[in-house]
């Protein structure tokens, strides 16, 4: 009989091994699924994991990895702080949308003025939009003890409605003859967020993501605040004795994750997406939750996890186009990754014990 036994201390080995084992198991289970769909599993796995990095069009796709990973990393790092402290911001998608709308609105309001300050101000506005949207669940939690999971999630749908209003109404391109969608930022240099080096796929969002990862790594390792965040998640009572005010921590973590999600939204809408449209948001806010856990809530882990997730997206797209795989199969494949990750994660806190039936029988005797 197999039993789970709680470890006295989380296993260092399994904390590192979990993501790797999860990826390998996903490849196996996914391969099985691809095989039942009538595709050659090895070819599909190779298309997803190998071709974007080393295949024929890798020169283009490697850059795209950063385009896709940038917003995921930025959002996931913000989320990871709250997740460490036991504060569950599930509504990053909404904060991402609101950041994009606020930042874009600032830029569009001054169109077509050319000034070096416009883009920096838009960045601030984007962060503010995400922060403000995250403050709603934060304040409701600290004042009325509402559940931040539900409130932040529900606010995603409100944000989507506001996005539709923006695309159809107050941010609509006045020269777009009634069609939805704002002006395209690519034709407005002062407010655009183009690639910094042509072909690299790296835009300001990616730069911010990497800088943020570095800063938060230092915060968590070296700063008292990082210690308090970790403590609040692991031992709330001890944290109180240590002088941690839970309300302040909620406001801080929600605000920071909201602001980072807002930033990601702004960089996306001014860069790769190009314009506010009815559904420019592509679910980064939700995928970032997977990325945060895949990266063990560690800023450097998240950078790797974000790149891996981007790889499954881009490789998955290639598998869909070139091998005729249904897009739902690719999504299921990504879902498996989280599933195995959470399942194997048990191993960091528990160990498997094969309680032999012999021992049991002895007990009976």
């Amino acid at each position: 009989m197999i039993r789970l036994e709680k470890r006295p201390l989380p296993s260092q080995f399994w904390q590192v091994a979990t993501p790797i084992v999860a990826v390998i198991m996903t490849m196996f289970a996914g391969g099985l699924m691809f095989a039942t769909l009538g595709k050659n599993p090895i070819e599909v796995i190779r298309t997803i994991f190998w071709d974007p990095l080393f295949g024929e069009f890798a020169w283009y796709l490697r850059g795209q990895l950063m385009v896709k990973a940038g917003p995921l990393i930025l959002i996931a790092i913000g989320l990871s702080l709250g997740f460490r402290a036991g504060i569950w911001n599930i509504g990053a998608e909404g904060q991402y949308i609101m950041g994009a709308i606020c930042g874009a609105a600032v830029g569009l309001a001054v169109f077509p003025t050319e000034n070096r300050l416009i883009f920096p101000v838009m960045i601030v506005a984007g962060a503010f939009g995400g922060w403000a949207w995250a403050m709603i669940p934060a304040i409701l939690k600290t004042r009325f003890n509402t559940n931040e999971i539900l409130v932040s999630l529900m606010l995603v749908y409100v944000a989507q409605s506001i996005l539709a209003m923006a695309a159809l109404g107050f941010l609509r391109n006045p020269e777009g003859s009634g069609f939805p969608g704002s002006r395209n930022f690519s034709s407005y240099p002062a407010a655009a967020n183009p690639e910094i080096i042509a072909g690299s796929g790296l835009h300001w969002g990616g730069v911010f993501a990497l800088i943020t990862a570095g800063l938060l790594y230092i915060l968590l390792q070296r700063h008292i605040l990082g210690f308090q965040i970790k403590l609040a998640g692991q031992a709330p009572r001890a944290a109180r004795f240590h002088g941690v005010v839970p309300e302040k921590l909620v406001v801080l973590c929600m605000g920071l994750s909201g602001a980072l999600a807002g930033l990601a939204g702004l960089f996306e809408v001014t860069g790769p997406a190009g314009q506010i449209s009815i559904d420019f948001n592509a679910g980064y806010g939700f995928t970032a939750i997977i990325v945060a856990f895949l990266g063990r809530l560690n800023p450097l882990g998240i950078v790797l996890a974000g790149l891996l997730m981007a790889l499954t997206y881009i490789g998955g797209e290639m598998a869909a186009t070139n091998l005729g795989l249904p897009s739902a199969a690719v999504q299921a494949f990504q879902g498996m990754l989280l599933f195995f990750l959470l399942a194997i994660d048990v191993m960091s806190n528990y160990r498997l014990r094969l309680k032999s039936t012999a021992a049991k029988m002895l007990g009976v005797k």
Binding site: F57, Y60, L61, Q64, V67, S161, A164, M165, L168, G169, S177, G178, F179, P180, G181, N184, S186, E268, G271, P272, A273, G274, Q275, S277, I278, D279, F280, A282, G283, I314, E317, M318, A320, T321, N322, G324, P326, S327, A328
Partner: protein, 361 residues
């Protein structure tokens, strides 16, 4: 003399080389980008039917096996298009309005690849063409059936987004319902989605509770029909696809998008070297819009009336927007006998007289 002949021959040869080499193609790889899943039973399904028509029409001469479903509009679309262009596609059909900027951006980088964008208006470079269908022609026909069939004199319309294409459909339906039934009123619900069965079902439910007994929809799922099926006496129409599984009632007819002929025409033009950039907006006459079989739930005389209307639109003898027509505020729009021009229709952002409510802004 000899010199001149030589030159002339050279020029002729060069010309021939151009005509042969640069234009006609032996084999075309055609690729498709879809906004939804092929199994949506509506918009994307019909585009994919068009792709299958291409395969049936050309066989080995065309490779139309490449398509990508569920492509989000925005940055992802740009990458998918780039991958397709790099992957050797000669012509790429982007089948949703939201791909407009991505299509034009990628087209600028791949001047040798032809891009065909559905329902958009931007053709920034010479290799981008646009195409759309005059769905409002079909709406005129379903509006006529709706006006005849309603007993409560209340018809409902589930709108997706308040954009000109949808407003055209609302106006065309209302004008023709009113024409055959002066007492008819129309309630409009905005779903803010093209495809969301839950939201569409809610919208249909709300309309039915208001006493609506004919539901028209500009959203792509079968959910409104499923909702109508729960209440006896409520009918609806198939949208984008035939939705024949709800025959004979509540689905009494349908507006079917038929993209096959256009796709076959364009790819054929690419093969024989006659391909040119253009903007296509065909309707019932061009075969892009079809009226789905009118079922026995509709009285024979109504069916005949609807079919006659469709025929007159098809042969060009009647235009669904023919004056006298006033705008919602009562100001004159089209004088007696005047027909709306395409420019006005393409930017239509107002209701006609008699429709209650405002277009959300």
């Amino acid at each position: 003399m000899l010199k001149r002949t030589l030159l002339a021959t050279a020029a002729l040869g060069l010309g021939l080389a151009f005509a042969g080499g640069a234009n006609a193609m032996d084999k075309v790889k055609a690729c498709f980008v879809y906004v939804g899943p092929v199994g949506d039973g509506g918009w994307t399904f019909q585009h994919d039917q068009g792709r299958l028509d291409v395969i049936a029409a050309f066989g080995d001469k065309v490779d139309a096996s490449t398509f990508q479903e569920n492509v989000p509009e925005g940055a992802d679309a740009e990458r998918v298009l780039t991958q397709m262009a790099l992957g050797g596609c000669n012509i790429i059909f982007t089948t949703s309005f939201g791909y407009m900027d991505a299509t034009n951006a990628v087209a600028a980088k791949f001047p040798d690849v032809k891009f065909e964008h559905a329902t958009g208006y931007k053709r920034d470079s010479a290799n981008v063409s646009t195409y759309n269908a005059r769905f409002y022609e079909g709406r005129a026909v379903t509006g006529t059936i709706a006006g005849r069939m309603t007993k409560s004199n209340k018809i409902g319309y589930i709108g997706s987004f308040p954009i000109p294409e949808v407003i055209q459909g609302i106006n065309a339906s209302f004008i023709h319902a009113k024409k055959v039934n002066p007492d008819v009123t129309m309630s409009i619900v905005w779903a803010y989605t093209w495809f969301d069965p839950a939201k569409e079902a809610d919208a249909a439910k709300a309309l039915i509770e208001q006493g609506v007994d004919v539901i028209l929809q500009h959203t792509d799922s079968t959910a409104p029909l499923a909702e109508a099926a729960k209440t006896p006496g409520v009918i609806g129409f198939g949208q984008a696809s035939d939705m024949a599984e709800y025959k004979p009632s509540p689905r009494v007819s349908a507006i079917i998008d038929n993209w096959g002929p256009y796709y076959v025409e364009r790819i054929g033009a690419l093969l024989d070297g006659t391909y040119e950039q253009k903007d296509t907006w065909a309707g019932i006459g061009g075969g892009e819009v079809k009226i789905g079989d009118i079922t026995e739930a509709v009285p024979a005389e109504v069916k005949a009336e609807a079919e006659a209307l469709a025929a007159s639109i098809g042969d060009g003898s009647y235009h669904p927007f023919t004056g006298p027509l006033n705008k919602q505020d009562g100001s004159p729009w089209l004088a007696d006998g005047v027909v709306a021009n395409d420019g006005e229709l393409a930017g239509m952002m107002f209701y006609v007289e008699g429709i209650v409510g405002d277009i959300p802004q």
